[in-house]
Symmetry: C2
Subunit: 217 residues, 2 copies
DNA sequence: GTCTATAGTCCGATAGAC
DNA sequence: GTCTATCGGACTATAGAC
């Protein structure tokens, strides 16, 4: 018989989610969580660097996996599509039932500190994507935009996916978000340098000072 | 003769920035900051809800001002442009010299907690923009995308603006970022609505139910 | 596993400005 | 007298050090 129970981490996670749901994040102390999980606070902080992290366990591994997908993508000629594709193709249901994900999002949305951490996690995925795209030879500014905008597109899709019925498809939602984006991005005809300054000239100007652009497209 | 010195808030801000710069954010306690500003920690927390906020003082007012610009915009037919225009037209130099802004960004980038707060502030501006656009009659999903993507475009521009020489122009930088985005978003030919040319028409369709629609593509 | 520093809150008191 | 800014001190929880 073990001197201590095993599975402390899982018990802590379970206890935390239960308590946050019952009485809110800020009304729940680490002491309470630890007591319910039958460990000391010391053990809590052994597994989670701070109180919020208990809701984001595994996010580092998820990010690493997604970044790897970017690095392995057969073609990064359309970086925005690569990003949304990687995100859409992941099996999000594997992270828990849609209902539990909805509940988790609700807990997060209800607390500024948790929202802050959530944004931070998404941002670090974006940075991972950006770096991966750059490694694949994508221009730095394009990589940044593709990573951040791609994630934003996915978030829009994810929101709808969470709220929708079981039949809904994330990839389809992402496509819709992409169409929506295409509909609000000014086309070349509406660009700052019309007429005498064609898109080519605009690109050349961009090359010199503002945002260096490499010759794609 | 006043029993206490006036201008505690300013002294606290100044002391905090100095100390963060000298010895880093996490190596500086609120006690230290308060001592240098000749007040107690109680006074610090009267002005700043937490230790990080001292670096983001005035951000609520800035957000309110920018949101108001969105509400007052003559036309929101091109929501993405409205967002980038509002951000570009603001006089950022009024917040301090470019050098001091560079230094501030460096301090923030060097600390995860501060980065987290920074992201959170940007996000709340995005939410403000989104709500304002919706108030102006823009479809919810378009408003969300325009707000978040617009801010991302501006961030890209801002990064370059900070690094560039005095001659650089934020509006121009934003235009460049917009062109860059246009270059990576799949064109209409690849869209589910091949017949549509005008962004406004697409937006109108979106009005009805962009992402809820199941039969596209 | 215990001990300690820091963050952040609450309440009451006090001095000056209006 | 009322309002505002400050102080003092006691208190809890987080988080890290020993």
């Amino acid at each position: 018989m073990p001197r201590w129970e095993h599975g402390s981490e899982d018990r802590l996670k379970k206890a935390a989610i239960e308590l946050f749901d019952e009485q809110g994040f800020e009304n729940t102390s680490v002491i309470e969580i630890s007591e319910r999980a039958r460990v000391t606070t010391r053990t809590f902080f052994r597994y989670f660097s701070d109180k919020r992290e208990v809701l984001f366990a595994g996010s580092d591994e998820l990010r690493a996996m997604l970044v790897e997908k970017i690095l392995q993508a057969p073609d990064v000629g359309e970086p925005l599509k690569v990003v949304t594709a990687v995100l859409s193709e992941f099996d999000w249901e594997s992270l828990g039932s849609r209902n539990s994900q909805r509940q988790r999002q609700a807990v997060i949305a209800a607390n500024p500190e948790l929202l802050e951490r959530d944004l931070s996690k998404n941002h670090s995925i974006a940075v991972g994507f950006m770096d991966a795209l750059r490694q694949r030879g994508v221009d730095a500014d394009i990589a940044r935009l593709a990573a951040h905008v791609g994630i934003q597109l996915f978030c829009t899709a994810y929101i709808h996916w969470l709220e929708a019925g079981v039949k809904s498809d994330l990839a389809l939602m992402s496509e819709s978000a992409m169409s929506l984006l295409a509909s609000i991005v000014p086309t070349n005809a509406q660009l700052p340098f019309p007429g005498e300054k064609s898109a080519r000239v605009a690109a050349k100007q961009a090359d010199r000072s503002p945002l260096r652009r490499t010759g794609q497209r």
